[in-house]
């Protein structure tokens, strides 16, 4: 082995000219070590992603007759609160009138946030899109919700109107199983 070292030094250009076989071996070995490191690291990183049982709790069903007009019910879905709000005709009229309001940060019409034929029910995830607090029902300047943490105001369609939150309250994937039953998730 020692002899081969002497030989390669002879052929190796000190100015960093042509790569020789030894350079190739260095690079190949280094690349293999990095690849092996990444393969070992991946399961250690991936174990922190949601486990199978956590992902299995993906959907729930809810009976809409439990919500009275003008009120909301908070249900827990995937560890997060979901607001199911039965809006009064006055609230509904106001949010539809505000569909083109200039202060909407994320312009959306109320119709885009509800299901056709079920406009009086609003289903949104009850986490403020700023930093995840649960907004207070019926408070704030727009009659929807007010987030006590950093002062975001939402209207009765869950749209952000004022404050640091960047987005409207998120509408989860849900479907009507019947007129009074929804499946969330």
């Amino acid at each position: 082995m020692a002899e081969s070292v002497v030989h390669t030094e002879d052929t190796h250009s000190p100015e960093g000219g042509d790569p020789n076989r030894r350079d190739f071996i260095y690079i190949a070995a280094g690349a293999a070590a990095v690849g092996a490191g990444a393969m070992i690291a991946w399961p250690l990183i991936n174990q922190m992603n949601p486990a199978a049982d956590t992902l299995a709790l993906a959907s729930i069903e809810f009976d809409l007759t439990k919500v009275q007009e003008g009120q909301q019910v908070v249900i827990k879905w995937q560890g997060k609160p979901v607001f199911v709000r039965y809006r009064t005709p006055a609230e509904l009229q106001k949010v539809i009138a505000d569909d083109q309001a200039p202060d909407l940060k994320q312009p959306q019409t109320d119709a885009e946030r509800t299901k056709p034929g079920h406009e009086k029910y609003l289903v949104v995830i009850g986490s403020c899109t700023h930093l995840g607090c649960v907004p207070t029902f019926g408070a704030g300047d727009y009659g929807g919700w007010f987030c006590p943490c950093h002062g975001s105001h939402y209207d009765a369609s869950g749209r952000i109107r004022k404050g640091p939150a960047p987005l409207n309250l998120v509408v989860p994937d849900y479907d009507y199983l019947s007129d009074t039953r929804v499946k969330i998730g």
């Binding site: 992603n49 949601p50 486990a51 827990k76 930093l131 607090c133 649960v134 006590p148 943490c149 640091p164």
Partner: protein, 434 residues
């Protein structure tokens, strides 16, 4: 100082035997006889105090882990059991909880000492940078630990802080889910936070070893800020023991008195009452505030109207400390000889306290009285929002503009050639308070 000659002479046969095999006694003896600048004042005692704090947290923490259960259903009850049923559990938990606050009091004073006396300047950049790493790890550890009792503040603090990561464009959401181990803060989150809260203090301990290694390679700074010439070492230096072990020891006793006052008379003064309510994912407390030691950074976060911008500003507030050695253009270390810079430093202190105060208030609340002035952009001028913004601006201007500029423009006072000169000529008397 790294070339400090060993004066240790092994006496007994056992010591001689050990000295050729594992010179650990020599290592300790050399450490204790290390030449130390004789003019170090009490601001230099926080290193020892911080070592004590770290050991206190590790020892009480290991004991608490023997009784704590990291599960969303049992965590809160297990902490209450520690408080009520475990022998002396209340004491151990109060020492651990207040110990975190004491640790931060000491670390802030230690950092301000470094800032005032220019301890971060060449050749001590690495000491400072490792110190910043320790500070960052301390914040992370304290945050993780605060989640463990699984009270309302624990839960919602975790919710808000992990959501900061969600503000990162594109990658934020997958990283957030990865970090929490699910779509929301839940059992998986609590378990990993417990694991990491146990791990990080040992990472801090490792960094402390590097911090001390760097300190002994570059040598200690001193209130005058000059490098002590080799030929003056005999006159200007004293062995660490007994001169500074005694000085540190006295400071530690005073510090422990303060510590004990909190533990025995005001154990919950620095905490938040809402954390004695079990975590409820469906109800947010009326006001979420972090622990006092994070309030200035929390204030900076809220000062920026944009979500991601706020996160960037908050991390920049810590990040800027890392490059401090290259932002300060002055060759003079100690601010004793930099009157202009000292004025800006005092304003910085006031701003720091101000940010802490603002971080604990509702952003829309008025600062003075209860009247409205006029609305500027998105908030009333007489609100904590705008006060916080002004203070945040100064925080960054201090580091990014004042530091480089004042260093180039100012006329520093004459610097003494030796550390004994100001004492002998009486020039030190003017500036005793340091």
């Amino acid at each position: 100082m790294s070339d400090h000659e060993s004066t240790y002479v092994p006496k007994t046969g056992v010591e001689k035997w050990l000295d050729t095999r594992l010179p650990i006694i020599r290592f300790g003896a050399d450490y204790m006889s290390l030449p130390t600048p004789r003019n170090l004042n009490y601001w230099w005692t926080f290193g020892g105090i911080l070592a004590l704090c770290l050991m206190t947290q590790i020892v009480t923490g290991i004991v608490l882990a023997m009784h704590y259960t990291p599960s969303v259903d049992l965590a809160f009850a297990s902490v209450e059991r520690i408080m009520r049923d475990v022998n002396g559990g209340w004491l151990i938990r109060y020492v651990h909880a207040n110990g975190a606050s004491m640790f931060f009091i000491a670390v802030y004073l230690h950092m301000l000492r470094g800032l005032y006396y220019g301890s971060y300047k060449a050749p001590r950049e690495m000491i400072w940078i490792i110190g910043c790493v320790i500070f960052f790890l301390m914040i992370a550890t304290a945050f993780l630990g605060y989640v463990l009792p699984w009270g309302q503040m624990s839960f919602w603090g975790a919710e808000v802080i992990t959501n900061l990561i969600g503000a990162i464009p594109v990658l934020g959401e997958p990283i957030l889910i990865w970090l929490r181990g699910g779509p929301a803060i839940d059992n998986a989150t609590l378990n990993r936070f417990f694991s990491l809260h146990y791990l990080l203090p040992f990472a801090i301990l490792g960094c402390v070893v590097l911090h001390l290694w760097a300190l002994h390679a570059a040598g200690q700074n001193n209130p005058v800020g000059i490098l002590i010439p080799k030929d003056r070492e005999k006159k200007d230096m004293l062995p660490f023991h007994p001169y500074f072990t005694v000085k540190d020891g006295f400071a530690i006793i005073l510090f422990l008195i303060l510590f004990a006052i909190f533990v025995f008379y005001q154990p919950n003064a620095l905490g938040h009452a809402d954390n004695y309510i079990p975590a409820n994912p469906l109800v947010t407390p009326a006001q979420i505030v972090p622990e006092w030691y994070m309030l200035p950074f929390y204030a900076i976060l809220r000062a920026i109207p944009d979500k991601f911008g706020g996160v960037v500003a908050m991390f920049s507030a810590i990040g800027v400390l890392f490059v401090l050695p290259w932002l300060d253009t002055s060759k003079v270390r100690s601010m004793r000889y930099r009157p202009t810079m000292r004025t800006f430093f005092i304003i910085f202190l006031v701003v720091g306290f101000g940010l802490g105060w603002c971080g604990g208030q509702l952003p829309d609340a008025p600062v003075l009285g209860s009247f409205k002035t006029f609305t500027l952009v998105d908030g009333d001028l007489n609100s904590y929002l705008w006060l916080t913004r002004v203070l945040t601006a100064y925080y960054f201007i201090f580091f990014l503009i004042i530091m480089p500029l004042v260093g180039l423009k100012e006329q520093p006072l004459p610097i003494p050639a030796t550390i004994s000169e100001p004492v002998l000529t009486g020039a030190d008397a003017v500036e005793q308070k340091g």
